[in-house]
């Protein structure tokens, strides 16, 4: 049996919980926090004064007072002064952003990539340089408390090694260690799979807020997946689970980047849609190409409409399988899967009506990402914030010491 937690552990836990509340839900009065956390107001006061002293929150009088009596101080996250670096590394995007406590994007830079080159060394150098520049540009009194990377591929979470980046051709690249070394911020750089991180971000502050069982599908050339079951991200033995894009829906179907055929991503992803619409190699790619096809279908273009029908059908099979296996309360379509779902929803949901087990599809809600294009970036930010939200005072002391 485990010993009861020490007062110090309880305090640390409460500090983290309080900070997480204002980080995810925004400024809140002491009274509201007391109610949400089930603590009395003097305990809350002790916690907020510790967090204020550490420079993590501020307390101020509310702007407008609606009720009579002594107003309860409002606790705000120090968004401008406590921040993380969030990196988003996908086939279509290279972004570095400074994200403040509370989830505000304070500054962002799109990093240029040498055309058609995914050379790991060059990309890591460019990202590290941009990251350092953003930190330099932050005010002198601002402090960086973490660095997180969302990577579109298979990542070993414990050491941030990219095992496989299918659409950019990386194999066993020590992304986390290299970024840690080249950024030299005295902070360990954490790396996670982009769809997994986006799934967590949608649950923390997006469409899946408050839900314990959600599946997030992320379209970015391929289809990534993040599966949250019982409030926990499904990782599997090596942490590589949730790659629903490579679930075979059409045996012997279109060849997939993974070497197999008929995977969900090769049948229902943007490349399939673009090929079926006869627009491969016509300049536009990614989201723009998908938008053009959905628009053409809307105007009555038969080829575009057919392509969306087929893609929607396969997506429907895939989602029906996922719903039957996991019984999620929500499936979220993010990245370019948002456009594909919106453009083929009649097909997707018709498939579900036929192939989804009645009990499993009864409660499931199909939604588009609330964080939109920021979902993976916000996921990287949340990963970077996890230390300070787990042990606020120790983390702050540590990063201040390395300044």
């Amino acid at each position: 049996m485990r010993a009861a937690p020490s007062p110090e552990e309880i305090r640390r836990h409460n500090l983290g919980t309080l900070l997480r509340h204002v980080h995810l839900s925004g400024p809140a009065s002491r009274a509201a926090l007391a109610e949400r956390m089930g603590l009395n107001r003097s305990t809350i006061m002790a916690l907020t004064s510790d967090l204020t002293a550490a420079g993590l929150v501020t307390e101020e009088l509310p702007k407008t007072t609606r009720k009579a009596g002594r107003p309860s101080l409002v606790v705000r996250p120090e968004s401008d002064r406590v921040f993380v670096l969030a990196l988003d590394l996908g086939a279509d995007r290279l972004v570095v952003a400074r994200v403040g406590l509370g989830g505000t994007v304070l500054d962002r830079a799109d990093v240029a990539r040498p055309r058609d080159s995914f050379d790991a060394d060059e990309i890591i150098s460019a990202l590290a340089a941009t990251g350092r520049r953003l930190v330099r540009q932050a005010g002198a009194d601002a402090v960086c408390v973490g660095v997180g990377v969302a990577f579109s591929g298979i990542v070993r979470q414990e050491d941030g090694v990219v095992r496989h980046g299918p659409n950019i051709g990386w194999v066993d690249v020590p992304l986390g260690a290299e970024l840690t070394r080249r950024m030299a911020l005295g902070l360990r750089v954490s790396v996670g799979n982009d769809a997994n991180l986006a799934a967590l971000a949608e649950r923390a502050r997006g469409a899946g807020s408050g839900l314990d069982d959600i599946i997030y599908l992320h379209g970015d050339v391929g289809i990534g997946g993040g599966v949250i079951v019982g409030g926990r991200l499904l990782g599997g033995e090596g942490g590589y689970g949730g790659e629903v894009g490579h679930m075979v829906v059409n045996p012997g179907g279109r060849p997939c980047g993974c070497g197999s055929r008929g995977c969900l991503e090769s049948e229902a992803g943007e490349l399939a849609l673009i090929a079926l619409a006869g627009r491969a190699g016509q300049g536009e790619t990614g989201r723009r190409a998908v938008e053009i096809i959905v628009d053409a279908a809307d105007r009555g273009d038969a080829t575009a409409r057919d392509a969306l029908h087929q893609v929607g059908d396969w997506l429907g099979y895939g989602v029906a399988n996922l719903i039957n296996i996991f019984n999620p309360s929500m499936v979220i379509f993010g990245g370019v899967m948002r456009e594909i779902y919106m453009g083929s929803a009649a097909q997707v949901r018709s498939r579900l009506a036929v192939d989804g087990l009645t009990a499993a599809r009864e409660g499931v809600r199909l939604r588009t990402s609330a964080l939109g294009e920021e979902a993976t970036l916000m996921g990287a930010a949340e990963l970077a914030f996890s230390d300070v939200l787990t042990d606020p005072l120790e983390t702050l002391a540590r990063v201040r010491a390395t300044d």
Binding site: S209, G343, A345, Q347, A353, E362, T368
Partner: protein, 266 residues
């Protein structure tokens, strides 16, 4: 999170056996209709099926000739638009009534100050308008002090919808909000529609586009020649079935089984 948790079950609006004629022409025949909290109900039907007329009956623009109008389970008399607004029923009509020469804030409060009897200062109005838009995660509108004439079609719809939800409405009805919009803007308006329902409103969406209907609705109500062919849960039907309900009034076991009956409820 969903408002349905502490709500009484059952429809917030329920119409039973609504008849409506214009002179000698009967447009609605014994129509039943329901809208539920936290849900999007898509109202579909061919041109002239009676969708707009039904919505105008709900909104008190047209008095009903016969039938019952229940709100939160209680029979009510809706004699005009004011009665509907007092119940918390807001309608965004096809021809948006926004004033081009005014800015977003002024539009959102137009015709409202008098009704509520409260005189709001500019600062409070601006804050409420911005809060409402932010609460709906509207990121496309840059400043609430923009003139409405400078907005795109999608942004205008967004403002009209935000105006409808500003006053704690319970039911929002949208008559073809995406008809004049391109795909990108349509998707944004649909996401907004979905968000309204997820925040606990009952939303009724009239649309001709089956993708739009399937993308965001929880229920589909199909009108056929002034009769309610069927009200079904979206998750239980296919695209082909809904198209049949619209064009023929029936599809297999669903829909009007004889010429003048109302459709079965699934």
């Amino acid at each position: 999170m969903t408002a349905s948790e502490n709500q009484v079950p059952g429809p917030v609006i329920e119409l039973r056996g609504i008849d409506k004629s214009f002179g000698p022409v009967q447009v609605l025949h014994g129509v039943d209709f329901e809208a539920h909290v936290g849900e999007v109900t898509a109202l579909v039907g061919d041109n002239g099926a009676g969708k707009s007329t039904l919505v105008k009956c709900i909104g008190g623009i047209h008095p009903i000739d016969a039938g019952d109008y229940l709100f939160e389970g209680r029979p009510v008399h809706v004699g005009g638009p004011r009665d509907a607004a007092d119940l918390g029923v807001e309608i965004v009509y096809q021809d948006l009534a926004l004033a081009d020469n005014l800015d977003i804030v002024q539009n959102m409060f137009l015709g409202r100050e008098k009704k509520s009897g409260i005189v709001l200062d500019e600062y409070t109005m601006e804050e409420l308008a911005a809060e409402t838009l932010a609460g709906l995660s509207v990121r496309t509108v840059k400043s609430v002090r923009q003139q409405v004439s400078s907005l795109s079609g999608g942004q205008r719809q967004t403002v009209a919808i935000a105006k409808a939800v500003l006053w704690n409405s319970k039911v929002v009805i949208l008559d073809e909000p995406t008809a004049a919009l391109g795909v990108a803007q349509t998707q944004q308006v649909l996401e907004l529609v979905r968000r309204l329902a997820d925040k606990g409103l009952a939303v009724v969406l009239i649309s001709h586009n089956m993708n739009d209907v399937f993308a965001v609705s929880d229920r589909i109500a199909a009108l056929y020649l002034g009769r309610m062919a069927a009200q079904v849960k979206t998750r239980d039907v296919t695209h082909a079935q809904v198209v049949e309900l619209i064009t023929a009034g029936r599809s297999g076991d669903l829909g009007l089984q004889q010429a003048n009956g109302n459709g079965a409820k699934a």
